[in-house]
Symmetry: C2
Subunit: 539 residues, 2 copies
């Protein structure tokens, strides 16, 4: 199978799996993304390894589970010896860059302990997780003093958006009917248009940076991580997207008042978070969701323009296109806002892979229901680029057999998701130490099992209760299935790849057969006469 | 409580807990080590985190469990951002050095990826786990070509031991009654004296290096890891130690033929190892054990000389002395040789701590039965040196309350030991991949529970079967205790400290109370009017 030249790895931030037409949204039309699905494989059961940006992204980028790579909350730096997709690719001469968000921070303290000046090339790459920061922008610029020099802000100012922090003042603020400027931090702002020309808003801007990069790359093989900041909050969309959708286009909330009765303590604390309280009110949903939909619609349009750009350059045939998201958004479902939960709304992601090679012709336009994890993408991409995945570190599984239709006897029985909620209000509400804020989910096609450290378990029957409204975590008649899944979770945990500095192959070579004898280490012999002949009388 | 100036951290290699007089050996007299016990606390239930040199030592040196630091077999380099005892101490101005063995290898590949020349100071320290290699010698020099330049070999040659590798030719070879030179690799050699003057044999040589270091350190506070290579194999002792003990001084083997009936598959494979087969024969034990005892006796004499040296320098009052071992030796017990098992013979270690400060007067000469782990030493030493232990990384617990007699309400319910036996013959016999060669032990005062990946569990009742001859792993009447202990093991595993680049305290500061608001991140608000007053109208 020929290798592909280029990888376009598109990620949205906080895009729910069910907010695309091809994933079944009844009102949101996304013809360009749908068209990717028609040209490739649409994975219908794809999940992230953590519902939070930073930890989830580090799983995508390292191909390892959250508790393996150790970045369990946002801003927790990736360990200095963790290897990423960009490291693997650039070691083979590919140009691996990002336009947009990564949420990566490198371990400055470790770099400094190791005597590496933070301004040298290697340190700079470590701070970017190995990626070339062609246009790195994590999408949030709340503090004026630290935002002034952001490239996006500089470019907005050059375009006439005069402010210290035009990201906030224009791109993420809207103007209400009384001509008041409302900060995008506040949900009421979502009802009004962002005070920026659509052309200069973040999504088109990031797309243009991607196009610039592709032009700049020329003939060198590249992997571009085009990582849209939206539809992540602040939830404000520019014209014409802000009012393309109305309250009549909002799916009804997936929640019941019974969920709040005898609620699981951690879930209950999460519902008491200010964000969840806001999204439990119709007013917030009615303001935010149309804007959220508009931001997705805008992404879809931009994806269309980008495809046209690639077509015009004759690059569609040698470019793999991956479209996905780093996690979802509760949007008030289950009385929750944001994404710190194991509900489908947070952990289930869209994932479309367009492999242009003839080997993938058989699966074009098909839907794959196998359980897929975000860590599967890294070995998939490496294999596409003709690089042998380092399975001593990688914990995912290449999706190639699902893409080329060759299939596998046995795929995967469950997906795993992990959460460290120590940074949420829930910890304060529960008054527990950060080390206790650990939670684990194991989900198969039928059941979702959740283990919270120090609290009772949760269980949902996805077949009979696909909306996850009935927590069976205390139900005595489900004790057996809970125990089984707890055992599976334990077995999963015992297989983590913490030993990364020596490979299984190396162990084989070092210790199998007569390799120790060859090194002059003779163990278990009474006398030299017992040694195999060829080792006798050697020094 | 005043800090102590100096730490003398003495470690033997492969010394069983029960081969010292103070730990109950009926024939082996160890008055100098016993005298340490009289001056300090003798821990009667101290265990290693892995029964293999390298992994066990990395636990001692990092204060973290094996599956946390990731060095699960010998020669697997310590990750480049793992911090060690030496790192913590030297950051505070202490001089932390080793004379003898550490079994540390640094991650050369990671250093090179990070652009750090292997010959620069920082890289060199990483390759030594942060220690100053005052005299580093891992004790095995099997290959002539790589051994010629070892300091020990150079010094032996200077003393007239003429050979390319006098470590093997003299120090670890013996001369039999027919004047034949027998390599110490072979068990028959243990019956004869090593062909070296006692003064030049490894244990006194290493002691002298320790004394040199102490003299060299002068007034600067120091931590010396005096790490004896013996009584680890090759089992040959110089005169007069080689024949101080005879077969009549050998404890009878702790084993029964019933152990081999319906034996656990992994245990059975371990008994089929060539080393185990050899030690299952009386001939091997009769030759090796007296030499093993002689090597211990020699260490005891050297400890005596070292104490006299410190007394002569008036340093006993400002030096903490720790005496321990990195694991034990089966010596044919349970039909096993070497140490790759969870039997007491392998995992139970001697541990004596002499704290010279008045605060420890109350416990001098006492025996502590609390369950102690090797990872407890690091926080203990740091606390003695007046350094706040970094509990974001460290997984052990300071022993100070057990040493100063202040006590604790609740100490520890169990100890953990882990093993990766992928490098042993057992893996070939079982024909399994390296990743499956994982085993875990959880031991409390009453029970020892063992989980082997892919095989049935083991259970021993230490109260009614202290010799561990009756494996209750299949016994239906012990299902409940096995399940309980399996659950405890799982709970332990969920608490590993994989997130090391950000502290719990930092999380508290970043996310508690109004710290997010202070950073300009306003989440969950409908409008600016809902913000606390002090944050309104801020940019």
């Amino acid at each position: 199978m020929a290798n592909v030249s280029n990888i376009l790895f598109i990620m949205c931030d906080q895009l729910r799996f069910d907010y695309l037409a091809c994933y079944g949204h009844p009102h949101l039309e996304t013809p360009n993304i749908d068209s990717l699905a028609e040209r490739g494989v649409r994975f219908n059961s794809a999940f992230v390894q953590s519902p939070v940006c930073g930890p989830s992204r580090m799983c995508f980028y390292t191909g390892r589970y959250m508790s393996t790579h150790g970045t369990t909350i946002n801003f927790s730096p990736l360990r200095v010896d963790e290897l990423t997709l960009a490291d693997y690719l650039s070691a083979k001469g590919e140009r691996a860059a990002v336009t947009g968000k990564t949420h990566i921070s490198g371990d400055r303290e470790a770099l400094q302990r190791l005597g590496i000046p933070l301004d040298n090339y290697i340190a700079k790459r470590r701070l970017e997780g190995g990626l070339e920061p062609y246009f790195r922008d994590d999408g949030l610029h709340p503090r004026v003093e630290q935002s002034r020099s952001a490239t996006y802000n500089q470019d907005l100012r050059a375009a006439g958006y005069d402010a210290d922090n035009p990201w906030l003042t224009y791109a993420n603020s809207s103007i209400d009917e009384r001509n008041r400027r409302l900060s995008g931090w506040f949900y009421e702002s979502a009802k009004y248009p962002a005070d920026i020309d659509e052309y200069y808003s973040e999504t088109p801007y990031t797309t243009r940076k991607a196009m610039e990069f592709i032009e700049d790359a020329g003939e060198q093989p590249w992997c571009l991580h085009l990582s849209y900041i939206k539809p992540h909050w602040p939830y404000v969309a520019p014209r014409p997207y802000y009012d393309m959708y109305d309250t009549e286009h909002i799916n009804p909330p997936n929640r019941s008042t019974e969920e709040l009765v005898n609620a699981h303590p951690v879930y209950k604390a999460m519902t008491q978070d200010r964000i969840s309280q806001a999204f439990s009110q119709g007013e917030t949903r009615d303001a935010v969701i149309p804007a959220y939909m508009g931001l997705i619609k805008q992404i879809d349009d931009q994806v269309g323009m980008l495809m046209q750009f690639l077509a015009d350059r004759d690059q569609l045939d040698d470019t793999v296109i991956i479209f996905t998201s780093d996690h979802g958004d509760q949007l008030g479902d289950h009385w929750l806002g944001d994404k710190d939960s194991f509900y489908e709304e947070s952990i289930h992601i869209p994932l479309i892979v367009v492999d242009p090679r003839p080997s993938a012709d058989a699966t074009r336009g098909t839907v794959c229901d196998e359980l897929v994890e975000s860590i599967d993408l890294l070995p998939t991409i490496l294999q596409m680029a003709g690089i042998e995945p380092d399975m001593n570190r990688l914990e995912g599984r290449s999706l190639i057999p699902l893409i080329d239709g060759s299939g596998v006897d046995q795929w995967r029985d469950y997906v795993i998701c992990e959460m460290d909620y120590s940074y949420r209000y829930a910890r304060e509400a529960l008054d527990i130490p950060p080390t206790q804020c650990r939670a684990y989910m194991l989900r198969n096609h039928r059941w979702k099992f959740i283990l919270y450290e120090g609290y009772r378990q949760q269980l949902f029957d996805l077949e009979n209760d696909p909306q996850e409204l009935n927590d069976l975590g205390k139900d005595p008649s489900h004790q057996v299935i809970r125990s089984q899944m707890e055992n599976e979770l334990f077995a999963w945990m015992r297989q983590r790849k913490h030993r990364i500095t020596i490979t299984d192959k190396h162990i084989d070579q070092m210790f199998s057969g007569d390799s120790q004898l060859k090194r002059g280490v003779y163990l278990g012999f009474w006398s030299e006469g017992e040694l195999p002949k060829q080792f006798q009388n050697s020094k």
